[in-house]
Symmetry: C2
Subunit: 415 residues, 2 copies
Amino acid sequence: MSVGIRHDDLRRRNRAMVIAAVRRAGQPSRTEIAATTGLSHSTISAISSDLIGEGILTESKPSEAGSLKRGRPQVGLGLNPEAAAVMTVVLSLNFLSVAVIDYAGQVIAEEQRRLDTLTMPRDALVGECVAIVRRRLEDPDLDVRSVARIALAIQGITDTRARAMLWSPITPHTDIAFADILEGEFGIPATMENDCNMMAIALRWRDPQRYRDDFIAILLSHGIGMGLVLKGELFTGTHSSGGEFGHMIHRPNGALCRCGRRGCVEAYAGNYAIWRNARQMSEDAEPVADVSDADMRALATAARERDGPEREAYRKAGEALGYGLGSLFALIDPAPVAMVGVSAAAFDLIEPALREAIAQTAGGQHSKSISFDTEPNELPLIREGCAMRALTFVDQEIFAPGTQTRSGLGGKNVA
Amino acid sequence: MSVGIRHDDLRRRNRAMVIAAVRRAGQPSRTEIAATTGLSHSTISAISSDLIGEGILTESKPSEAGSLKRGRPQVGLGLNPEAAAVMTVVLSLNFLSVAVIDYAGQVIAEEQRRLDTLTMPRDALVGECVAIVRRRLEDPDLDVRSVARIALAIQGITDTRARAMLWSPITPHTDIAFADILEGEFGIPATMENDCNMMAIALRWRDPQRYRDDFIAILLSHGIGMGLVLKGELFTGTHSSGGEFGHMIHRPNGALCRCGRRGCVEAYAGNYAIWRNARQMSEDAEPVADVSDADMRALATAARERDGPEREAYRKAGEALGYGLGSLFALIDPAPVAMVGVSAAAFDLIEPALREAIAQTAGGQHSKSISFDTEPNELPLIREGCAMRALTFVDQEIFAPGTQTRSGLGGKNVA
DNA sequence: TCTATTTTTTCGAGCCTCGAAAAAATACTG
DNA sequence: CAGTATTTTTTCGAGGCTCGAAAAAATAGA
């Protein structure tokens, strides 16, 4: 069960803490680090001297040009971009994109590719992923010997251990152990992440003020996904990536969902559902495979112009999202929400019904104070999230290694 | 933000770990403790010698009568019952009960009282609680100078910090800071806990095999409550005790709930809802204040005898619970469920519809493998949970004190 | 150039855990 | 019944880590 703290863990954890402080703060001085970590100046001095010696951190002389203060000027510590690199692989509908990122977080190489993910055979899909990674790794223009971690994100359900995709709407194939495949191929540790979880992580790094300990990222796209951070930690299911907000039941025995079941939130709020309602098709109509972003934008425009089936479709979407959030907020208490994806651009059409619905629920007691943010473009968020995920892994497991993660704090999902 | 580990924390945490190991295992030897904690024998020896010296642990000579093994016999370590005592206060509908428990977990005194909680003025309710605690504390037959902690449980919503009751169905009054009141009155640290959370904690201590890291306790009583343990930790909302499973929305705009809203799970599965449906009253009918356990049992008997409105009422309850669990399992993945409370005795009437409903949901994919346990009597569970809650507090915060819980691991809800 | 001020490093003290060896306590063996 | 094997527990020195205080370093103002 829970495990004691050994003496050697101490240094390891405090090293990790110093690295984390630098990654968060950018260019903090040793004094600032001492303040945020609560450790003594001597300890910080010793640890950072080690880290600089190992090439993980660097000193960056002039922290601020206008140094008005009296005494010895602070010298900022920064991450050494050359200490390592990580790679992100984002696999979405008909689209594959990779990036190589240096240790300081800058993108140093990219490649993107269109694929027909819905019809590709299993081997071809895996093969494309392996090939694109290989091309980046073998790029002679780039010194990427030091790629220390690969983070792969996909729409759909992954397992808690971040090894495999269990199910995804972008391909008919299931249970692909991408992480193991890439590790086997390149000998680089890899993880298989859920796209919405990566969005949540990215939001936290982008705007730590707003998205700190408790917040929700909801992907409004062809399907409905969610990434949830509670008490500062990424929330996942116990077996799967979990957080399948889109498949909470909105109306028992209701509209047909892409998952084959009935009445899911997604069956009212996913792009295909909005499309189906806007075209006044039956709720039993088979969900279409994909609706283009352009079509969705046209739908939104029409809904804004006149009161018709399009507007009603968005209203229904808002209602489903509102009741779904209400149920969620009954469990976890309300928190700020970020709406991401194409339909987030139509949030003006969704919001009224959403707020009305949520006000009918226990979780929506203070519905007016629940704030919504919108971000129409999910891909950059997912990429950033993957990058931070991979980088913090390097921070913790490679540059602050130790008594190899015994059971204890191993699987913490610090966002 | 997250704080470094100081050198003095080390001993503190390892002390806490040893105490916890003893509480879990009962009479473990030093060697067993070393094995479960992963610490060295020397460390365990040093720490347990301290703890014995301080009167927290005791050695209990003959661990097993039939010691067949060869070498030096193990000497068991146990909790010293006199090291401290705690008090539990359980406030439920028309009923108030307290118990004094020694450090080893044995009840050493009890008192119970009937009250008319629904109509009592606020001051009287608080006054009764204070008075009953005072009577136990001042009991001359008992040496209870050393009560180190009071845990108070109530049906309803409490705040995350476990200081106050925010709302409860047993009284019209809201926002009563019971924990602060008792602390102020007696100078003993107190907490205000949610009843269902205590049930979950108790289940974990009763049957750690079955209820280990992930499970759900659902109270089927006048209202519907839930206690949830995820990844070994009690799950609570971010502001409130959270986990208001009973107020997830089952049918938008559906049956009238006791909370004044419509379509909550509870509005179909709470005793009043089953009663309302069994009597073929309108779903809009005002929920009755209370249905006696005897009446509920009569209802169940009738439902078992013939196919009529009673049976249909239980079917509807099962359906609501099933869809609710389905939505919950979409978020957290399926886990074992314990059904507690009067209506758990009628689970045979509820289960078929519940399983049918859950099979319609994404979370119920493997619905057959989800196991349900029943326990008709919630009160003993709540009491035990409070006792363990209070005792583990004493273990950690009083007998392993240190750098006073800075932000870091402060609020962990280890069940 | 000297002084005040702030940051960073150095150094010894005090703990803590660990491993190895010793001590303690029992069962087996002839 | 004495001696040996075995297992548990304690003891002891070594090695690490963090801390506080003091020293050193680096700058702005006078």
